[in-house]
């Protein structure tokens, strides 16, 4: 396993624990980690696409984690033990158990030792998925971790709390306001509909979106002047109480893939498409 994996991850984790208040370095750090992960050799992906068949319900991400990620790691019972521990820790997050904060780092330590013995190399993007999912979940479940949104930060193209460009947004209420959601800290902030959040382009002929047939809920908004795309979910007509955009993003990873095929790069630079099977 690449030695860089352990030190980079450990620093990020300590960074985040020590300085909850100022998130920006954590975001940068994570992106760095993510880029480094991409340079590894990319052999056959661990995650077959039928893993995505089992549906995931909002607020039941831990359950998804156990049924999808767990089997992937369970070829080696040593990692299975670490992942069970993590899965159990995830469950407690929902019980808001005060002690959870200490238990997760222990899991990470164990995963790092176990990672050494994994027989198959992990796909780099899959690492990104694991890291961002676990951090995002951590930030969202511990309210103290996230400072309030600075006032007046309404029309910013990046998350007002952690400074990361968003990856997905939702159209909310019956009027259809566009509400960005930060993939890392789950912060919501409003953004006008006809403007590219990444480069500020607002001429209509430069903007557009495409949808995949039978999946019209997810629109891929692209901008010709910066070739970036943003995933927008039209959750207005769904009768869901408060849809978890993370889960919808997982369910529509095919769109990220198609956007990459159409030549657009994600504005949030979180590359998702490599680990999908591509014939």
């Amino acid at each position: 396993m690449h030695p860089l994996w352990t030190t980079a991850f450990q620093e990020t984790w300590d960074d985040c624990r020590r300085r909850y208040v100022d998130f920006k370095p954590v975001g940068e750090r994570l992106k760095e980690l993510h880029c480094q992960a991409r340079q590894w050799d990319q052999s056959e992906s661990l995650l077959q696409e039928d893993h995505l068949k089992t549906p995931v319900i909002a607020r039941q991400f831990p359950d998804y984690f156990k049924r999808v990620i767990l089997p992937v790691f369970s070829q080696n019972e040593a990692t299975a033990l670490a992942l069970d521990e993590f899965a159990e820790a995830m469950d407690q997050w929902h019980l808001e158990d005060p002690g959870v904060e200490t238990r997760i780092p222990q899991w990470l330590q164990q995963l790092q030792q176990q990672a050494m013995h994994l027989c198959k190399p992990i796909q780099p993007d899959f690492v990104t998925l694991i890291v961002s999912l676990s951090l995002a979940h951590l930030y969202r479940s511990i309210p103290a971790a996230k400072p309030e949104t600075p006032a007046g930060a309404t029309q910013s193209g990046v998350c007002p709390v952690c400074g990361l460009p968003p990856h997905f947004a939702a159209l909310v209420e019956t009027e259809g306001y566009r509400q960005m959601e930060c993939w890392l800290c789950g912060e919501h902030w409003p953004f006008t509909r006809l403007e590219c959040p990444y480069c500020g382009e607002h001429h209509p002929e430069k903007l557009g979106y495409f949808t995949v047939e039978k999946m019209e809920v997810c629109r891929i908004h692209f901008c010709h002047s910066c070739q970036a795309y943003l995933k927008v979910f039209d959750t207005r007509s769904l009768a869901l109480k408060d849809p978890c955009l993370w889960v919808m993003h997982l369910a529509t990873l095919i769109c990220d893939d198609l956007a990459a095929a159409e030549g657009y790069h994600p504005g949030s630079e979180m590359e998702w498409h490599q680990w999908m099977v591509m014939e």
């Binding site: 696409e49 209420e173 009027e175 979106y209 495409f210 047939e213 039978k214 019209e216 369910a251 095919i254």
Partner: protein, 197 residues
């Protein structure tokens, strides 16, 4: 975009789906490779409602040169996404729904240049060039026949009282400005429109 009922009935029934992901067509997608999916490109354009003069913002979704959906513009400070019944039925001016629920262009719209011969009982369709040339000839003939360059006191007046012009509150500012430039260049004085009607 809201899918029509026809697409629903073809693929789904009434049993309650166990989980939400069914709702967004997840399963079938996972099977196939991505090449079989048909992408529908569209872009959003803002316009202002053509009915009353509150000036509500509307977002039109345009796919392949055709407006496929209109909705209130949530970012517009006056209507903040809301529309009245006329505003929300704007799409019906362009498309009406036949009984199978498929949008068809509104049949009562005039889409050809129509001409009625003096004493004729019905319209004939003509082409643009002929129509424009003939109307220009009519304007020129009427203007030249009735043009007054000076009035009795010798003041240059340069007008023709024989052509009336009704501009419009349904046209844009730039169009109304060109109407005005054209009427004054021809020397017309009988100018009015539905603000006074």
């Amino acid at each position: 975009m809201e899918v029509t009922r026809r697409q629903f009935l073809k693929v789904s029934g009434t049993a309650a789906a166990a989980t939400t992901l069914y709702g967004i067509g997840f399963r079938e997608v996972a099977h196939g490779t991505y090449r079989r999916f048909r992408l529908h490109y569209a872009h959003e354009v803002t316009t202002i409602c053509p009915f009353c003069s509150v000036g509500c913002g509307i977002i039109c979704h345009v796919r392949e040169g055709q407006v496929v959906n209109t909705e209130g513009d949530p970012d517009h400070p006056i209507n903040e996404g809301a529309l009245c019944s006329k505003g929300s039925s704007l799409l019906n001016m362009a498309y009406v729904y036949d009984e199978k629920g498929k949008p068809v262009p509104n049949p009562s719209r005039v889409t050809q240049v129509l001409y009625r011969r003096p004493g004729g009982a019905d319209w004939e369709t003509v082409d643009w060039d002929w129509a424009l040339r003939t109307i220009a000839a009519r304007i020129k003939k009427t203007r030249d026949d009735t043009f007054i360059t000076q009035n009795s006191q010798g003041v240059p007046v340069n007008r023709t009282p024989a052509i009336a012009w009704l501009g419009s509150a349904m046209c844009n500012n730039e169009e109304n400005y060109l109407f005005h430039k054209m009427t004054r260049s021809l020397g017309l004085v009988n100018i009015d429109h539905c603000a006074r009607l």
